[in-house]
């Protein structure tokens, strides 16, 4: 009789970092068991976590490298696929320069894989590397890095239990990070008051003592209005402002222009509710502000983040147990992918690319480290459309579904000379690729993952990948080693291939015989990260193996305990003070008018995850949300002549999508809601960008809903 083993694993879905055990029998993942000892999930799992093995063991898994010939994919061996990729990448780089290459990394992959992937891009001489964080929390990076000096969540999730007030704006954590709801309930049990601001009455809003149903895209006005009340009523924390911040006078003058009466007109929230929310937040002895995509996915995303930070700082609600800013991050390793420098403007550890200096210790090597920022996700797609980007390598992302204005993204990727996709499934994006490489899923490889709370956890391999699938870290090394074979012929060409031994930020080679693309395992890669990324210096493989609850960065030394709460003494800014930055309410890029009289806002449902390539293949999840729907208010439905369940066409200036209508008063009149897990929604969304963070305004578009029309 074969025996079962229980291998701990970090859940592959959201950034909460829940863990569970994969039950392995005869080399197969046959079940899962709950991990009651985990510090965040305590054994709990959302429906996606419960269904994780349905995606892992799915018959659609890619098992062989595929190369497209005459429009059809053919199975080939790894050698052939890797040779093809390395030669095409080298040739395109030689003829069009390093910046004709684009790299989309993955917040689903481990820290080690993201580190190697950006290393490949930069080794080839380009900073054109980005990932889906651009589409969720780029404004957090812009906003919090400026105000607090660090873009990460300030406190751990279980610290919510210490809050007396929890203000949630633009986050539907009940559906998207269900374990957060556990800790908000614990705080409520202790008497905490909960305020939820959202255009929809979501299951998160069910937890609210005060619910502010604001119009989409009016967050800055609401936040400024609350600050107005706090200053008028003398509820600000004057000591904190004086000792730990700069810029208060300008902010105070600014929010004076936002009395509740004016804010009520902009937001649709009553003056009395604005006052009640402001008092509850400011008078709490410890208050936490939770925000998410409802704040960031706007053309004013960076402003929205700044206003959130202003409110928390004005009330002294940062840097203590129960007091902090919590931008919840949506992917299992989106925090880690950012930490590892899978960003066009930052190297690993948030060193700006512009700060890079030519290698001093090795002056004889003629190197060129790219010192100007590369292109972001949406800019890369546009550059592909314009023919400036000629080759892209996509690791585990599905931009056709996840990017705004999807028809444009599809056309752009079709124009590439070379598209390489590494994934576990044949996604909509992989269908367009020249080469598709079968990747190992999370439980089939070892690696570290960083939760939304900066908690770094190790997830050991539980089972072997299916067929010939390989871990992404191996694939990246395989490609790089093949390109090394062409190194001599490439050296001295435009841009000059960066000899691996000379890249300053890597500081790797201990001897000239070291090959920087030779790693025996992810443990070796993490050891390199320990040497090159200061905030991860003490997060060693040995410590992670012995710390089931993980370690919080910054952890600058092997004997450092890690940092669960940021900014306790000083902020990470040069002078140690947080910056208060006044921001004005600016209307969304597109407002309802004429042929498109409704405001379309987008979001998620609890049983699906992002572009859905895993959850839409999980039968128990798909059965609970099988197809695209649009929510409209009963008054709008009556005016438009729609009945519950009708097939409708939703249209915007960019395209049309078919959906079933759901009639519900949880959205206000004039507002329509669609989840983005299904093809269609992002044919409608607008690709207008936040000027600083370059995030598209997924949350607001002008639309019309009408009875389904047939194409043509």
């Amino acid at each position: 009789m074969s025996s079962k083993t229980f291998i701990p694993t970090v859940c592959p879905y959201c950034g909460a970092g829940c863990a569970f055990y994969v039950v392995v029998e005869d080399g197969r993942a046959v079940g899962l068991e709950y991990m009651a000892e985990h510090p965040v999930s305590e054994g709990a799992l959302c429906p996606k976590g419960n269904a994780a093995l349905e995606a892992l063991n799915h018959p659609d898994r890619l098992t062989h490298p595929l190369v497209k010939r005459n429009g059809r994919f053919q199975e080939v061996g790894w050698e052939q696929a890797l040779d093809f990729i390395s030669h095409r990448l080298s040739a395109i780089r030689q003829s069009a320069g390093p910046d004709a290459l684009g790299f989309l990394s993955s917040a689903k992959c481990s820290n080690e894989e993201n580190y190697l992937f950006q290393k490949l891009a930069r080794w080839l001489g380009t900073n054109n590397v980005d990932h889906c964080a651009r589409l969720c929390h780029a404004p957090t990076v812009v906003g919090l890095a400026h105000t607090l000096g660090s873009a990460a969540m300030t406190n751990p999730i279980p610290d919510l239990i210490n809050a007396d007030c929890i203000f949630v704006i633009g986050s539907n954590f009940a559906e998207n990070y269900a374990p957060v709801a556990r800790w908000v309930w614990r705080a409520r049990d202790r008497g905490a008051r909960v305020i939820v601001a959202d255009p929809r009455l979501t299951p998160t809003a069910w937890l609210a003592d005060i619910f502010l149903q604001l119009r989409p895209g009016t967050d800055v006005a609401l936040l400024n209005g609350m600050m107005h009340v706090i200053l008028t009523e003398g509820l600000a924390d004057r000591d904190f402002i004086a000792q730990r911040t700069t810029g208060f006078e300008a902010l105070a003058r600014h929010v004076a222009a936002y009395p509740p009466s004016r804010v009520a007109e902009i937001t649709g929230v009553s003056p009395a509710q604005i006052v009640a929310a402001a008092r509850a937040f400011a008078s709490a002895s410890a208050a936490t502000l939770i925000y998410c995509m409802g704040i960031t996915q706007h053309t004013t995303g960076s402003d929205n983040v700044l206003a959130c930070a202003d409110l928390a700082l004005m009330c002294g609600q940062v840097g203590r147990p129960g007091a902090g800013l919590m931008p919840l991050r949506g992917q299992n390793n989106v925090q880690g992918a950012c930490d590892m420098g899978a960003l066009p403007d930052f190297l690993p550890g948030y060193q700006r690319v512009s700060n890079l200096r030519p290698q001093i210790s090795n002056p004889q090597s003629a190197i060129r480290n790219p010192q100007s920022s590369g292109l972001t996700v949406v800019e890369m797609i546009n550059a592909a459309y314009d023919g400036q980007i000629k080759a892209m390598v996509v690791m585990g992302e599905n931009p056709i579904l996840s990017d705004p204005n999807a028809d444009h993204a599809r056309e752009a990727l079709s124009r590439l000379d070379l598209l390489v996709v590494q994934d576990i499934f044949m996604t909509e994006t992989a269908e367009l690729a020249d080469v598709v490489l079968p990747a190992a899923a999370w439980a089939e490889k070892s690696g570290s993952y960083t939760t939304t709370e900066r908690r770094v956890q190790w997830s050991p391999q539980a089972v072997q990948p299916p067929g010939e699938a390989r871990a992404d870290w191996q694939i990246v090394c395989d490609v790089a080693r093949r390109i090394q074979g062409n190194l001599e012929e490439l050296r001295g060409t435009q841009g000059g291939l960066v000899p691996p031994s000379s890249s300053e930020f890597l500081r790797v080679p201990q001897s000239s015989s070291d090959n920087p693309w030779d790693y025996a395992s992810p443990v070796d890669v993490l050891a390199e990260i320990n040497r090159t990324v200061p905030i991860y210096a003490g997060i060693t493989p040995e410590r992670l193996a012995a710390a089931p609850g993980g370690l919080f960065w910054p952890c600058p030394a092997p004997d450092h305990p890690g940092t669960p709460i940021l900014h306790t003494e000083r902020f990470a800014t040069p002078d140690g003070r947080a910056r208060l930055v006044p921001v004005d309410y600016v209307a969304p890029a597109e407002e309802p008018a004429g042929a498109f009289p409704l405001t379309l806002t987008t979001g998620r449902v609890v049983v699906h995850h992002n572009a859905g390539s895993m959850t839409r293949r999980s039968p128990s999840l798909l059965a609970r949300a099988p197809a695209l729907f649009v929510e409209v208010n009963p008054a709008d439905a009556e005016r438009l002549g729609l009945a519950e369940g009708d097939a409708v066409t939703v249209s915007t200036a960019r395209g049309r999508a078919e959906a079933k209508v759901r009639i519900t008063d949880t959205v206000e009149t004039g507002v329509a809601f669609m989840p983005f897990h299904f093809e269609g929604t992002n044919r409608l969304t607008i690709d207008a960008l936040d000027p600083r963070a370059k995030i598209p305004e997924y949350k607001v578009a002008a639309c019309q809903v009408g009875p389904a029309k047939k194409e043509g």
């Binding site: 429906p47 009940a174 009455l201």
Partner: protein
């Protein structure tokens, strides 16, 4: 007294983790159903293990029987007449996919035999479901209610 599954409906966020977990360990059929009401509330419904139980009274083959404080189901005795479905005031007995017999909550019999708790209570993110004795359940509800009244006094 036997431990049962208790529902704290106000904590339910309609995430359906309990449903997915239950069907995972019960051959694809969930014995718990979360029902959303008016977009503002949700209730996880599952067997209350009533005593006396209407389903037991309705079952003429003793496929359903009260044992050790729970309503147990013996599929071998079930004729698929469906009287129990009609009798259950909570609608928590369902047809198996073959349509020939029924299925209902067994409090994860196999797991309890192995010293493990029922999956729905373990997996519930908000602890809206708990597996405990009646006295523990009521004690917790009472302590929370009392704390709430105290806070109301303090705020006054």
């Amino acid at each position: 007294m036997a431990r049962l599954i208790y529902a704290h409906a106000e904590r339910c966020i309609d995430c359906t983790a309990c449903e997915v977990a239950c069907q995972r360990v019960h051959n694809g059929m969930s014995n718990v159903t979360v029902v959303r009401v008016e977009g503002r509330f949700a209730v996880p419904l599952l067997c209350r293990h009533c005593d006396p139980a209407p389903c037991v009274a309705a079952c003429y083959t003793q496929a359903l029987a009260t044992t050790n404080g729970t309503v147990a189901f013996d599929a071998a005795r079930c004729t698929g007449c469906g009287l129990c479905l009609v009798a259950c005031p909570f609608g928590v007995i369902g047809w198996k996919s073959d349509g020939r017999t029924v299925h209902k909550c067994d409090l994860c019999t196999d797991r309890r035999a192995a010293g493990q708790e029922p999956v729905c209570a373990l997996t519930c993110p908000t602890q809206a479901l708990s597996y405990e004795e009646y006295g523990d359940f009521v004690g917790r509800v009472q302590r929370r209610a009392a704390a709430k009244m105290l806070r109301a006094e303090v705020r006054r």
